[in-house]
């Protein structure tokens, strides 16, 4: 028998060998030499982490106790790989397309990148995996003790062995699992080592099988006889359990974090899955092929010991086959370590991505997720998580004290992760699935599973809180895990399975139906369910060659055929290749992206190149960046829109100006026509009478005098008209020079009244004034102001139709201005004419007979505007009222 030291030495050599293989594989992968690394066989072998030490040793034990029931563990995955191959392919495609890093990421991604959901799945996975890791450590420790014999083992604490194993595994996982934060999260070194372990595992069990059949028994016929006679053949058949465990195993192969890691995350080529579709079931068949013979032989062999779980090891030892036993030991060691390594890797990814990093980001508030600082933090988090997961497993192992209850933990863990299944399947197949449904389902299933299976298992292994569990919390029997809902569960596993998955599925569907998905959930739902429409398959390294065509087509669309062609040709020449298509090397892709980003923005360019090269790896961050660029483009287009609105407004203003000009032109014509009329009318009289006077026909003196008088009056009318026109023209052009002096308002009024010939007692119009209020000093052009007053007074003289015409002049001082109102007692201006009176040549109908061309008010208003005041007509119930406003700046206290 090998000494303990020898065993340790073998282990160390074996581990060193694995390290070497991993290093080599990692190096070759970095150099781009894929070789066997990228073969479907390696992928298939890496899937064998499904068969852990629990199945490696435990399958024989299970067969010895329960007959063929152990097969269910293999049957489930076989059914999935053969029957649900389409589902696996979809999962792998989604994983690549969405850059999924773990099962928690998968669920979270699908349901709108929900951090809470990711954390929930992570906690679930860690809780499920911790006892499972403990189980692996136990099996390694146990096999050590069996192999090395009690004498040697006595000197060594079992816990110490476990901690060495745990530490070694942590080191290996950290070295090969966290070398870098690669975007695709693949670990070729680690996978290679696992593939080698898978081979060792298979060889060991096959070797024992062959030895048992041909070395112990006399060939297959004898073996069959022995099986016939052994209790294994007569083991009771439990259909429900068969069905349940088969389903559980099928769920586990889809949901176990470590299986997801190798199946989806480490997949480098979608076509490998096709090989695995038949090769993995074959592997399972081979590894389970000799389980029954070994169990039968073990049961019949005196020296094989009492623990059927160790028959694989004890049978060769009992038969003196040390070499074979050593191989088996290494096989078991491989099964345990490969499971622990991948589980630790997968769990650490989940822990760091979904629990540690979010918290760290919260604390530090980093805004650049790609900074080096951030990468270092992520790597540290990953490493700490690996150590943490292994420490948890070790802690659980120490807590349980290596109790037998650990053996049940495999299926318990299966059911734990199976809680993810409804949300996973629903997410892939049903666009209507929502975060609320997934959260409710997983949460409820998790609680039921934890309470019915995990807590009792922990209680059993640790001896704590057992009484509470038996009676139910608060004495409520229906809450007791032993009798949930009052059911007398004969098989706690099946009861818990039906309850937890049933409630889980119901809540998932119900929650999804009653809640509405967020926009991101909708987007992700579509990306998941219709993944084949949104992505391209990933075909390993050689896939890139065909991509050059696609890249060229895309580049032509964006850059134009000429520019794209030149870019590709020059790159091809630089690479020393014939033809127009360069190898899509990272350098070239970077250059292409730069060129494209000039046209479509960096994020979009990256996403587009990624679509073609990386197999549709468009992350949400990429999408957001694209959205940003789109927003910029929209901003630009809205600017364009604003400009076009501006143009439209300018056009409208031009139209308006044009209309105004047309109107002005029309007004000018009307004005000229008016002037023509106003000039020709007096000229007609003048000409007619002057011709009469010139004629030789005799005229009496009275007629001669009268006609001369008319000619004289009409000439004066012409002169006045011309004066008014010139006055208005000067005022309107703003070229008027004001002669501002200090003047008393009352004096200006006196002058105006005198000029209009309206002084008291002289003329028809009676004036009413308030001399006290008129004592206001103004700085203004007194002549112009008087002109306005004269116009208003003479208007009253002309148009006031009262029997006893009277004009009331009132002066009011207001803050900032002074107002002079001229109100007559006539019938006033008809409302429809009030808006016209300030127009040139406008005269109220009643004014037709009166002299004047209708320019007076127009001129007066212009004057008041020049003086900084105003002239308005104030509508009143009786008489016409005009108000002259003078500005305060012209005021000074009297």
């Amino acid at each position: 028998m090998l000494s303990f030291d020898g065993l340790v030495a073998v282990c160390v050599v074996y581990v060193a060998l694995l390290f070497g293989i991993a290093f080599l594989a990692e190096k070759r992968a970095t150099e781009g030499k894929a070789g066997w690394l990228n073969s479907p066989v390696t992928y298939t072998l890496s899937l064998s982490i499904y068969t852990t030490a629990w199945t490696f040793y435990g399958a024989v034990g299970s067969a010895a106790r329960n007959g063929l029931e152990f097969l269910t563990i293999y049957l489930g995955p076989t059914l999935v790989f053969i029957g649900w191959f389409w589902l696996l392919r979809k999962m792998v495609r989604i994983g690549r397309a969405q850059r999924i890093t773990s099962i928690a990421d998968m669920i979270s991604s699908r349901y709108g990148k929900s951090g809470a959901l990711a954390a929930l799945v992570t906690v679930l996975a860690v809780l499920g995996a911790t006892p499972y890791i403990a189980l692996q450590l136990q099996s390694v420790t146990l096999s050590f003790s069996v192999f090395a014999g009690p004498s040697a083992f006595g000197t060594l604490d079992a816990g110490q062995t476990a901690i060495w194993v745990a530490a070694g595994l942590a080191l290996f996982t950290i070295v090969f699992g966290t070398r870098s934060l690669d975007l695709n999260e693949r670990h070729p070194g680690l996978v290679s080592a696992i593939a080698v372990e898978a081979v060792v595992k298979l060889c060991a069990i096959l070797a024992v099988g062959v030895f048992v059949v041909w070395g112990v028994a006399d060939g297959p016929a004898d073996m069959l006889d022995r099986i016939e006679q052994s209790p294994v053949a007569n083991a009771p058949w439990n259909g429900a359990r068969w069905l349940g465990v088969t389903m559980l195993a099928a769920a586990a192969i889809l949901c176990l974090p470590r299986m997801f890691q190798v199946l989806v995350v480490e997949n480098s080529d979608e076509r490998h899955l096709a090989t695995a579709g038949w090769a993995f079931p074959l592997y399972l068949l081979l590894i389970s092929f000799f389980v029954v013979p070994i169990a039968v032989v073990g049961l019949g062999l005196e020296g094989a010991g009492t623990n059927p779980d160790l028959f694989v090891l004890t049978v060769p030892l009992a038969m003196g086959q040390d070499g074979l036993a050593l191989l088996v030991f290494l096989g078991g060691f491989s099964a345990a370590t490969s499971m622990v390594i991948v589980a630790a890797l997968a769990l650490s990814t989940m822990l760091s991505n979904h629990i540690i990093m979010p918290i760290w980001l919260q604390i530090t508030r980093h805004d650049d997720p790609m900074s080096g600082d951030m990468r270092r933090a992520a790597l540290t988090a990953r490493r700490l998580s690996i150590a943490g997961v292994l420490f948890l497993g070790y802690g659980y192992y120490r807590l349980s004290g290596g109790a037998d209850a650990l053996a049940d933990i495999g299926l318990i863990a299966f059911l734990g992760v199976a809680q993810i299944l409804p949300a996973l399947l629903g997410g892939i197949l049903w666009r209507g699935a929502t975060r609320v449904g997934a959260g409710l389902g997983i949460g409820a299933g998790f609680l039921i599973w934890g309470w019915l299976l995990l807590v009792p298992n922990i209680a059993e292994t640790s001896g704590l809180i057992a009484p509470v569990l038996e009676a139910g919390p608060l004495g409520l029997g229906w809450l007791s895990p032993a009798t949930p809902l009052g059911l007398q569960a004969t098989d706690p596993l099946l009861t818990a399975m039906v309850l937890s998955l049933g409630v889980n599925t119901f809540l998932f569907i119900f929650g999804s139906l009653v809640s509405f998905p967020s926009p991101l959930e909708r987007l992700q739902g579509a990306q998941f369910v219709n993944v084949y429409e949104h992505s391209r398959p990933l075909y390993g390294w050689q896939g890139a060659a065909g991509a050059a065509d696609d890249l060229l087509i895309m580049a032509q669309r964006i850059l134009g055929a000429g520019r794209a062609g030149r870019l590709f040709q020059s790159a091809a020449e630089a690479q020393g290749r014939g033809g127009d298509l360069p190898e899509p090397t990272p350098d070239f892709l970077e250059r292409l992206e730069r060129e494209l980003s000039g046209s479509v923005g960096a994020a979009t360019a990256h996403a587009m190149v990624g679509q073609i090269i990386g197999g549709a790896s468009v992350s949400v961050r990429d999408l957001l960046a694209v959205a940003d660029e789109t927003a910029q483009i929209m901003e630009y287009s809205s600017q364009l829109e604003a400009k076009s609105t501006e143009l439209a407004q300018t056009a409208a203003r031009l139209r308006e100006a044009n209309a105004k000009l047309t109107e002005l032109s029309r007004q000018k014509d009307a004005f000229l026509s008016q002037i023509s009329h106003e000039l020709r009318t007096p000229m007609t009289s003048i000409r007619a009478f002057s011709e009469i006077l010139m004629q030789s026909d005799p005229l009496d003196d009275a007629a001669r005098a009268r006609f001369s008088r008319i000619i004289h009056d009409e000439s004066q009318r012409l002169t006045r008209l011309l004066d008014d026109l010139l006055d208005l023209s000067v005022l309107e052009n703003g070229r008027v020079t004001l002669n501002e002096t200090e003047t008393r308002l009352g004096d200006v009024l006196d002058r105006a009244i005198y000029a209009a010939g309206a002084q008291a007692g002289d003329g028809r119009l009676a004036l009413e004034r308030d001399p006290g209020s008129e004592d206001v000093l103004l700085v203004t052009d007194a002549d112009r102001l008087a002109q306005v007053f004269i116009n208003l007074i003479s208007n009253a003289q002309k148009y006031c139709d009262a029997a006893a015409p009277k004009l009331t002049i009132r002066v009011r001082q207001l803050p900032g201005r002074v107002e002079v109102d001229f109100t007559d007692n006539g019938s006033g201006i008809p409302p429809r004419q009030q808006s016209l009176i300030f127009e040139k040549f406008a005269r109220a109908d009643s004014a037709k007979g009166a002299p004047g061309a209708g320019l007076g008010l127009a001129i007066s208003r212009e004057i008041m505007a020049r003086l900084g005041g105003g002239l308005v007509h104030v509508p009143s119930d009786r008489g016409a009222r005009f108000r002259v406003r003078l500005p305060a700046r012209a005021l000074r206290a009297a």
């Binding site: 023509s676 020709r680 007096p682 007609t684 009289s685 003048i686 007619a688 009409e714």
Partner: protein
């Protein structure tokens, strides 16, 4: 020479001048300061020629002309339009509406007499003569 002339002109001085000129030439002139009384007078007086100013208070000379032409009794009445607006467009409008002659103010006395005489002698009027 002789005959009856109805004159519609709102400018008092021009009314006086035209009345004087035509009367001295032997015409019987009836003057009106606005269109309303003139229209009423047309039916009563049955003038040989109507001398009508365009710019009248209330209804314009052109409107009166249109009414006259629309009434069978006065459809053929010779009408001389007077206007102080010198634009060609006004002349066209007046002729289109059926004016027989058109004088732009200021006009010469001879021109006025000549035109009135021509209109009165023209065989347009049903009862002119």
């Amino acid at each position: 020479m002789g005959g009856r002339i109805l004159l519609v002109e709102d400018e008092g001085n021009i009314l006086e001048a035209i009345t004087f000129i035509l009367s001295r030439a032997g015409w019987e002139v009836q003057g009106h300061g606005n269109g309303a009384t003139a229209l009423e007078a047309v039916g009563r007086v049955t003038p040989d020629v109507l001398v009508l100013d365009v710019m009248l208070p209330g209804r314009s000379g052109l409107e009166i002309l249109r009414d006259l032409r629309a009434t069978p009794e006065t459809a053929d009445l010779p009408v001389l339009m007077l206007t102080a607006k010198g634009q060609a467009k006004d002349r066209e409008t007046a002729m289109e509406l059926g004016a027989n002659a058109y004088l732009t103010k200021p006009f010469s006395n001879a021109e006025l007499l000549e035109t009135v005489t021509r209109l009165a002698e023209a065989p347009a009027g049903t009862d002119g003569g």
